[in-house]
């Protein structure tokens, strides 16, 4: 079979049963791969009422038809589960080399269900699959467990997906890792694996990806790889990693200083990619077949953490564990925090965001040292932050409350609406370090409607609004409006978000990295269609590409709707709507800006064909996308949700 492996692996940890299920041609065409396959399984096999930690819950690992192929950046994996953090639909996406290895072993998807009696790991050696004891690996940091598994299996070149202690301890925002450092960070999939007593999936694949038209694929790849050589974003990302954004974020006022109380700081350069490269960068790292190589490997050179080494950080890793909690003077403190979140295996965004919220509760007097076990949560207190990260990873002390995530912690502490005002979340998940008052109104809109807990930058990744100077003419070409290329404008943003969400969803199905398609814009939809067809031998069109993305987006949205989450929850933290952006540095471009969500939301609904009252996808739209069964599921819930509007407030999580 060309492109796909053509089958998925299902492992039931309760019974030990291992099955391989063929994936039909129609199924592959309808859902394409990774995110599509996973979303379909979660929608159909995990009822919205099920506890995410119930043994019956599923965790899916999906790769796509391009995975392991020569197209730019084909190592990604989508990890999907019902999120223990938000209670709704959750997925995350990681790079590394494991995704390609899974494909080479002969699978498009791995579904894990059930619960093992004691800790186990899965060993996939091509078509041989077995469960092995992981008692000795439990409690180990990924860097230790990785080595132990490789020694045990006698092969240093295998690739391994695993969780850290935070996943074992069911921290609600624990990550899933592969290749030690590459994290599927968000929505807490690591905790779901922990609840199943699954430490790792070690994989050796000795197959290949078959290609329908090798010459055509070679031609497309030659052209695209040539384009990357001169691409301005590639150069920034290769040289400085995604930390290259720090100084840009500071200039444009979306640098999340102290839980978004500010948007810029005079010392931001302390943690910029430029500074990192000149001081602590040991090595650059690339995921499978990547022409960009934005990955970093850091070695701290001096101070009390001298000698500490870890993979990373990237922008969304350093920012929440640094400026978001007020740390900016000594970058080594930030690198150390990044190292800790890696070792424990948890989402740095949620971790830093939760600590930042706690610091603001402390600042405003909502909590005191009586609540925190004596810790003084002063902004920028690096020692306290490091202690809290460890406490969260171990679920000890005050950290045990913060391990629930910002919104649940607020409720556990009984802080009411005021507590939630300072949790910078939507649908129960903390926003990444991107202030919509500066990064852009498209980003903000995307935070409000995103389908993995609302608040995510990787649902639309609408960098089109930042791309004006680097890619002149691109917005005209894709959206018909060049004025959309500025962050702080509503022009064409609803359409931009709609377009990019669909585009991104299909990109996640191919499981190629969105830094090739939504950041650098060296690879556009026509190129993706071309390489997809070259590999699979099928005849996808650009319209199909958008339609598959739209189908997935609506399916994921419908999952939220079944959790009774809809239009009421389509919002952003009140801070962005109410508080004008203060001035942090004199060259800042967005002083005084607030985020105008309401100017965009109804227009976005119209593009989506979502009901304006409930925010549920219309029956017409669902049927048009071949989702008749979803329309049937939603029919009785629409009016129920709307009638609830009168008496119920927005849910912070479901």
């Amino acid at each position: 079979m060309n492109g796909w492996a053509g089958q998925r692996l299902r492992v039931d940890l309760t019974t030990g049963e291992i099955t391989k299920e063929p994936l039909s041609f129609e199924y592959r065409k309808k859902w394409i791969g990774g995110r599509g396959f996973n979303s379909e399984v979660i929608y159909n096999e995990v009822p919205p009422s099920l506890d995410p930690y119930d043994p019956k819950a599923r965790v899916c690992f999906g790769v796509g038809p391009m995975s392991g192929s020569a197209a730019p950046s084909t190592g990604r994996v989508t990890v999907t589960a019902k999120s223990p953090l938000t209670g709704g639909f959750g997925d995350a996406n990681m790079g590394g080399h494991w995704g390609a290895e899974v494909k080479y072993a002969g699978y498009d998807q791995i579904i894990v269900q059930g619960r093992a009696k004691k800790p186990v790991y899965i060993w996939i050696d091509d078509d041989k699959v077995e469960l092995r004891d992981a008692g000795h690996l439990w409690g180990k940091f990924p860097r230790e467990a990785d080595q132990m598994i490789k020694e045990e299996l006698g092969d240093e070149d295998i690739h391994i997906m695993m969780i850290g202690p935070a996943g074992e301890n069911m921290v609600r925002f624990a990550c899933t890792f592969n290749d030690v450092w590459r994290a599927a960070g968000r929505t807490g999939t690591g905790g779901v694996l922990g609840s199943k007593n699954l430490k790792a999936i070690a994989t050796r694949g000795s197959g290949t990806v078959k290609v329908a038209d090798p010459k055509k694929l070679m031609d497309v790849c030659n052209r695209l790889r040539q384009a990357f050589k001169n691409d301005p974003m590639k150069m920034g990302l290769y040289e400085f990693g995604s930390l290259c954004l720090i100084n840009v974020a500071n200039r444009d006022g979306w640098f999340p200083w102290k839980n978004f109380q500010g948007g810029a700081h005079p010392d931001a350069n302390n943690l910029s990619g430029e500074t990192h490269a000149a001081t602590v960068l040991k090595h650059r790292e690339g995921c499978y077949a990547c022409p960009i190589c934005c990955g970093r490997f850091t070695q701290i050179k001096d101070g009390k953490y001298a000698g500490e080494e870890f993979g990373g950080p990237e922008y969304e890793h350093a920012v929440p564990t640094g400026p978001r909690v007020g740390i900016i003077d000594d970058a080594n403190d930030i690198w150390h925090n990044c190292c800790l979140t890696n070792d424990y295996g948890m989402d740095a965004i949620e971790c830093g965001g939760t600590i930042a919220a706690a610091m603001e509760w402390y600042q405003r007097g909502l909590i005191t040292t009586k609540d925190t076990g004596g810790l003084e949560l002063e902004w920028g207190n690096a020692e306290v932050v490091a202690t809290l990260i460890e406490q969260i990873g171990q679920r000890k002390g005050f950290g045990n409350i913060l391990a629930e995530g910002a919104d649940r912690a607020s409720d556990k502490l009984g802080l009411g609406d005021e507590g939630h005002y300072y949790t910078i979340t939507t649908r129960g998940m903390t926003l990444p370090g991107d202030d919509p008052r500066g990064l852009g109104f498209g980003y903000g809109l995307s935070f409000s409607v995103g389908t993995r807990g609302g608040c995510d930058h990787l649902r639309s990744l609408c960098c089109l609004e930042l791309s004006g100077a680097l890619y002149p003419g691109l917005n005209t070409r894709l959206l018909g409006d060049e004025s959309a290329c500025k962050p702080v404008t509503v022009n064409s943003k609803p359409y931009m978000v709609y377009y990019e969400e669909n585009q991104k969803a299909t990109t996640d199905c191919l499981n190629v990295c969105c830094f090739t398609t939504h950041w650098s814009y060296a690879v556009l939809t026509p190129d993706q269609v071309e390489y997809l067809n070259a590999v699979t031998g099928l005849d996808f069109t650009e319209e199909d590409f958008q339609e598959v993305g739209e189908r997935i987006y609506n399916l994921e949205r419908a999952y939220w709707n079944r959790c009774m989450s809809g239009s009421r929850e389509d919002t952003v933290p009140e801070r962005f709507l109410k508080e004008p952006m203060p001035q942090g540095v004199d060259y800042q471009t967005n002083v005084g800006v607030t985020f105008p969500l309401n100017d965009m939301l109804s227009q976005y609904y119209r593009y989506r064909d979502w009901d304006s009252k409930s925010g549920f996808p219309s029956e017409r739209k669902l049927k048009q996308l071949g989702l008749d069964y979803v329309a049937k599921d939603l029919a009785p819930l629409r009016s129920k949700y709307v009638s609830e509007t009168e008496k119920k407030k927005k849910k912070y999580y479901v």
Partner: protein, 166 residues
């Protein structure tokens, strides 16, 4: 006639992305995968290290010296050893003799295969062409050595100067 250029591997610049690997296998075999590549990357994730491995175009090549059938022999025109699949008996002697592990066994034919510098490819070998970090380059070795000599000297002089000032 050989243009005298060879592949040079610099692990300090290797990000371990295996763009070389997918390019090599696709170009030569029309499939993508590590098992079909003439170039490999040894990754050491825990320490953030990666090492590209490929044919170093030895002038006194052990792979040719040990081949019992003459399948693996120096091609003076190309400036590199080549393996004639018709003569190869799949004994793996060349693969074991190569000091770098740059020879691979084909999963379908069972025969040995190795780098041919992408003979005839206009842009030069695909591994060097696709390498995003300059870890694999296609160069005249004498010129590359001169550049390296100068770079290293500059580095040492700079370090000495810093030492004096410090």
């Amino acid at each position: 006639m050989s243009n005298g250029k060879v592949l040079l591997f610099n692990h300090e610049k290797c990000a371990g992305c295996r763009s070389c690997v997918v390019g090599c296998s696709l170009y030569h075999d029309g499939e993508c995968g590590k098992v079909l590549s003439r170039v490999a990357v040894v990754r050491n994730e825990r320490f953030g290290e990666s090492f590209p491995v490929g044919c170093d175009a030895c002038s006194d090549a052990p792979c040719a010296a040990v081949c019992p059938t003459g399948a693996c022999a120096m091609d003076h025109e190309a400036g590199i050893t080549k393996i004639d699949a018709n003569k190869c008996i799949g004994c793996k002697e060349c693969a074991m003799a190569c000091p770098f592990g740059a020879i691979n066994m084909h999963y379908k034919t069972g025969k040995a295969f190795k780098c041919d510098l992408c003979e005839g490819r206009e842009e030069g070998p695909v591994c060097a062409d696709w390498c995003p970090g300059g870890a694999i380059t296609y160069e005249l070795p004498n010129v590359a050595l001169k550049v390296k000599r100068r770079d290293k000297l500059t580095e040492r002089l700079k370090a000495a100067k810093v030492g004096e000032e410090g």
